[in-house]
Symmetry: C2
Subunit: 769 residues, 2 copies
């Protein structure tokens, strides 16, 4: 998996083109309505079978023994005790035939082995067991006797480039040369500015914490491997496992029905995936291997902490003239990218002629980063959107006004190509209006120790347009019910519901008569992984094309039978009828040619995006907080998300995405951080839900409202852009800005919690802040 | 399910046409080779998961309480004891809400209810139970207290029309008016004959006995039903269950991977299918319900016994001039068809200008008929082919010669349309040559009590051409491996292997790189049920079309990249190369457009058969027996099957079909019969494998050879006709003719066993025979 390429679509000539001509919808009957999930019953009744629910006859359970040190070398392993334990079928180490698999965890360096005797982080896989129960497997894993040579470690990324820092790989902890982006003349920009501000912002490392853990059930039949995998994309799993085991692609079937949450870390094949398959192969039994919650916290991915120095120059009229940013971050021991995309909004969110960004990436002895809901963007936003707030104050301008002054119409970082639509202005204006921004800003400050404030932050998400390839198949049965076949995963966002609505819209079939087969390399069409907020914009045009293809075949069949021109016919509720002559109609099941074929198969493809424009979602979020100036506690009272993500396909799942994204942003800003003991052990000290705090219902305001901005973007045939990622980008800085508005204290380092805020308030009271 | 329509294809206009132009193969690399099953490893290792192997979490087990009387009325049911038993979740009767489902077991009359209080045969379903273990379910079923009013019964079909016979339905046991077929002038025919013979033949009822029993595992998710069903066709199951439960077709998913044998009785939805689904619905748990072997013998179908009076007239030169046949049979209590197709070969196998057949069908209080490997044909053959033997003797002609004299070139029963090919002559001539027929006939009779003889019998199968609709999809992956998606079941005949060979032939992909997704209404294309020897002729042209469609897309993509005309390019082993310029080649995975789409999807359809011809398979079988004249034991020494079934797609599965068909024919002729106690109880007395004898390995000769006659039929694009049914049609009369040849005793009634033969031999010795 190359860095972030999963959401960057490269135009490729000659991909299959849509079969049917589709005009943009002018009016819709189904699409856009608030529709509950088509699989809501299954999800809430317990009927939905998630990969971790899969149980197969004779299935064993896998467990992985992991290195307890941040940096160590395995000097010996003795598996004999473990092998003799009850229920144990297989114990594997790097010495086991077939286990000596080279492993490339990510794009930069990081080449190791499936079980590597050089352990570069706490949690490195050392050995694995398959036993009849999970308890037997874990017990046996613990009974494997390993001798480690403990090595000096580096876990503080800010010290990774120090002369005396222990080295993770090779001769330097730099993962690559510093990356520089530059346009205009940065020095001239600052010279032209009326006000220049500079600040260093720090954002802590946030861990992936989906409800369902990471793993799979693996089963071999002869030389063929089937895995039920909690994943965002079955095709990457198929490719990863085929490569690991030297199998033809057709011999790996990855099934990904239902996923208990995924935010980027389930985009690819983990070591746990390969280990499950390997244990199953050697044991000749199916093996289930889902990592424990502790392993999730240690090993399966995070949003990297980034230190961001941002310097900005603005004219007194609000014109931004210079932005300079220097970032330092770490993707852990196995990813070279700690700062990826953490400068993108600095480059592209606001009009600014003079921009320079420099990014430094280092290795540390810690678990790796994986893409996490808008990689880099929330980090970037934490700095940029607080800086915008500070600039506005410095020139005595409303923060909304300052942003409106600098709204882009072209993508400055992408050849100045125009955006297909830029709803940022409407997000700010309509959001502020709906939120009551002005009134709240001007409200008299309360006396007493509880202070209220409001904050705003904007964003764009660098991707969100989607693109080819995608193939979808719609089967229309003789009773007017339908089956949609698509390869994409529904990672909890409601993809299936949206796609069913597209089919319902075009074929006049009630939603409840549509079933969906999805996310199975054995049975469904190719789709790229669900990530990058590109699933709906990628898949929905292909699904629409398939439905239209179905419809045109059915109407053609009926036209022959009714002796009516096809253009006079419509298909609805299992009936084809003439719009001209009300006597001319026929139930689909009565059409002779249809009766003969029983099922009409429509195939559809996603066409390319226009090359001359750039498509991105934009957003503005507004919030109000109450700060207890005695304790430093911050209560988020209300939030509003104003989002321009093209057509609103399903207002209910659209709103749900905003609620979820804001919740995750509250976690990033206020409660979450990975703590590594950089002084003594190098180990993670908050590896459980008690110590690593994700926001609870009490941390999230009941009052979250949404404003949907739809400007009728026609860059694809459904007009949908991504919504899943922008919803979480500006949340944390909006809170920080509201805190500043309430109490005049700027929180540059996450998390915004009583410990940090009470100290700052005290300093301020004492004239130190 | 209408009588036998499953194999009769009616031409329908406007069915989807093949996408690609396909010439008949002139030379093949893969097709025709003897290839072991592509799923051989799974089938022999135990890895294959048959429907009866499916176990789901929380699954319950179902059992059915059946009426123990051949004819009775339920006067009361008390389920209270059963409901209180350990592990019991649900007990259902006709009074249970949702269980009051009307039921039409077959085409004629026979309308009843799922649980009918009027029980018309021993085995009628009265109530059902779902419990945690099968044992608990069976125990609870037995604990249901039912009071029956026992009614008088009719189980002997020959007495069903007697004045005093108890009536099964309505006012007469006739299921329908006698059916008459007539051509020419039968009286004139007999007048013109030099020899006229008349004989009455009786063939006993043969029971369906596949290795895997009948049933399913049913699971509901909300309003959607999934069943894993041992079936010959998932779409009929989908339709049956959708109708029973008032569901949209899209809400019923029938999965039929692997079937442990099926010979016609698994073509449709049984009461056990609906009961499993109903138990699962009420229990809100998955339910497995496979009937026991005893229930299989009682309830799930049979090949009806038929009494056949056959009168034939022949000229001394061997010209057949008249055939008159009167048949009487019973389909049991729920099928009106006991004699279906039991006159078809009399009408059509031999040239004969004057033919008249009359068929009488009656109800009896017994388990129903279901289609069984060439319905009606083996019965017909038992009479016709023994008659041909007798006619040949009467005019002192070799039996092979007599048949050769009367070989048809047109289908006399189907408007005198010509057969696309008629290989009957070649089957007889080449079969006789290979068997050493003349030598064996002329061999000196052995002295002593062991006498040897040889026999021959011919046949046609009325169907075997297949026809539309069928859709197939081939997905070609970027590494040159493939997945074939088709709706058809592989009922053990090797369908998957043959279809993989077609894909391999066209796409140059090794067989082991092809996987197959099949027989799943949720994920695969529409296919009619696998029956009537039509699966290969129906599906293989659609699969070939899909593969060709894939190939043409790939070659078009590569042509653009290589800048070579598409017609100069071939696809093989994942590479497209020019046949003109050896330097021009590219791996499929390197073609940019392919890389972008990752998978190329080829869709194919089965085109219609020519309307001006008739296509059928023909065959001749030869056997040699040894008769122990003291005991009446008959040992089948060797068999030869000479079959014309169009192109031999896979010589190994082709031969296997012949071995299996002959084995089943030996059972029909020599060991199998249902015995109903017509005097006292009306019950079946041989309801187990000890008393109902299917042939064992010791009953089947090790020496079975095959002769494949391929005349290059081009009625479809692969040239394949059906082989599954003709292989069993002529076996029994060939044995009877061989016995006659050995000892001069004609066995007109099955089974040919020591009891019947010893008596006849004794009578002959004593001048009575």
């Amino acid at each position: 998996m190359k860095e972030l390429t999963y959401y960057l679509t490269e135009p490729v000539p000659e991909t299959p083109k849509p079969q049917e001509k589709a005009e943009p919808w002018t009016e819709t009957k189904i699409v856009g309505r608030p529709e509950p999930r088509v699989d809501g019953y299954q999800r809430t009744s317990g009927g939905a079978i998630y990969p971790s629910d899969v149980n197969l006859p004779g299935m064993l359970h896998g467990a992985i023994l992991r290195c307890p040190h941040p940096h160590a070398r395995v000097t010996s392993i003795d598996t004999s005790k473990a092998e003799a334990m009850p229920g144990v079928h297989v114990v594997i180490t790097d010495k086991t035939p077939g286990a000596d698999i080279p492993w490339y965890e990510s794009s930069q360096r990081g080449d190791s082995r499936l079980f590597d005797d050089h352990c570069r982080f706490e949690g490195e896989a050392v050995a694995a067991v398959a036993a009849e129960t999970p308890y037997q497997a874990w017990d046996a894993a613990r009974a494997i006797e390993v001798e480690f040579e403990v090595l000096p470690f580096t876990v503080d990324f800010k010290k990774a480039l120090d002369d005396d820092a222990p080295i993770v790989w090779g001769t330097t902890n730099r993962t690559r040369d510093a990356r520089t982006y530059e346009r205009g003349d940065i020095a001239a920009g600052f010279t032209a500015a009326d006000v220049v501000l500079e600040e260093t912002y720090n954002i802590e490392c946030q861990l992936h914490m989906p409800m369902e853990s990471f793993g799979s059930v693996a089963q071999w039949e002869g030389g063929k491997l089937t895995v039920w995998h909690s994943t965002q994309g079955v095709y990457p799993i198929q490719q990863g496992l085929a490569q690991n085991f030297g199998l033809p692609l057709s011999h790996v079937r990855a099934i990904g029905h239902y996923v208990g949450g995924a935010f980027g870390a389930k985009l690819w094949t983990g070591k746990y995936s390969a280990i499950a398959a390997l244990l199953a192969k050697i044991a000749a039994r199916p093996v289930k291997l889902f990592v424990t919650r502790e392993e999730t916290l240690l090993c399966v991915g995070n949003r990297p902490a980034v230190q961001m120095r941002l310097k900005a120059g603005v004219k007194r009229d609000g014109t931004l003239v210079a932005l300079e940013m220097e970032n330092l971050g770490s993707g852990g021991a196995y990813s070279g990218s700690g700062t990826g995309s953490a400068d993108f909004q600095t480059r592209d969110l606001y009009l600014c002629p003079n921009v320079r960004t420099v990014s430094h990436d280092v290795y540390i002895n810690a678990g790796e980063q994986r893409p996490m809901r808008a990689p880099g963007h929330p980090q970037n936003s934490w700095a940029l959107e607080q800086m915008m707030d500070a600039l506005a104050e410095a020139i005595d301008m409303c923060p909304v006004e300052l942003r409106l002054k600098n709204i882009p119409t072209v993508s400055q970082a992408r050849g100045d190509r125009p955006y297909s639509t830029t709803g940022f202005k409407e997000c700010l204006e309509e959001g502020a209006e709906e939120f009551g921004w002005s009134e709240a800003r001007e409200a008299e400050a309360a006396n007493g120790h509880l202070k209220r404030g409001v904050g705003v932050a904007g964003c764009l998400w660098a991707a969100g347009a989607g693109g080819p390839p995608s193939t979808a198949v719609v089967r229309y049965f003789s009773d007017g019910s339908c089956n949609l076949n698509m390869g994409a995963s529904d990672i909890g966002t409601g993809t299936k519901t949206v796609m069913a609505m597209v089919v319902a819209e075009e074929l006049g079939v009630p939603l409840e008569r549509i079933t969906i087969e999805y996310a199975d390399t054995g049975t469904t069409q190719y789709a790229s992984a669900s990530g990058g907020s590109k699933t709906v914009p990628t898949e929905s045009p292909a699904v629409r094309d398939a439905a239209l293809n179905c419809k045109s075949q059915i109407i053609k069949m009926a036209a022959g039978e009714l002796e009516v021109p096809a253009e006079d016919l419509v298909l609805e509720n299992g009936e084809v009828r003439s719009t001209v002559d009300p006597d001319k109609s026929i139930a689909v099941g009565q059409v002779r040619a249809f009766r003969a074929s029983q099922v009409v198969v429509g195939v559809g493809y996603r066409g390319p995006n226009p090359e001359d424009t750039v498509t991105c979602p934009f957003a503005a979020q507004f919030c109000e907080v109450e700060v207890n100036t005695l304790t430093g506690e911050v209560k988020v009272l209300r939030f509003l998300g104003a989002h321009e993500s093209g057509r609103v396909m399903n207002r209910m799942t659209y709103d749900n995405q905003i609620y979820g994204g804001i919740t995750m942003g509250i976690g990033l800003g206020m409660t979450e951080r990975r703590i590594l003991d950089s002084n003594q052990t190098g180990k993670m000290v908050n590896r459980n839900f008690h110590d690593y705090k994700i926001p609870t219902a009490l941390d999230v305001p009941a009052d979250i409202s949404t404003v949907a901005i739809d400007l009728g973007d026609t860059f694809n045939t459904t007009g949908a852009k991504g919504i899943g990622e922008p919803v979480t980008i500006p949340t944390a800085p909006a809170i920080a800005n509201a805190v500043y508005n309430a109490v005049g204290v700027r929180i540059t380092d996450t998390p915004i919690n009583p410990t940090t805020l009470a100290a700052k308030l005290a300093a301020k009271r004492e004239g130190r802040g």
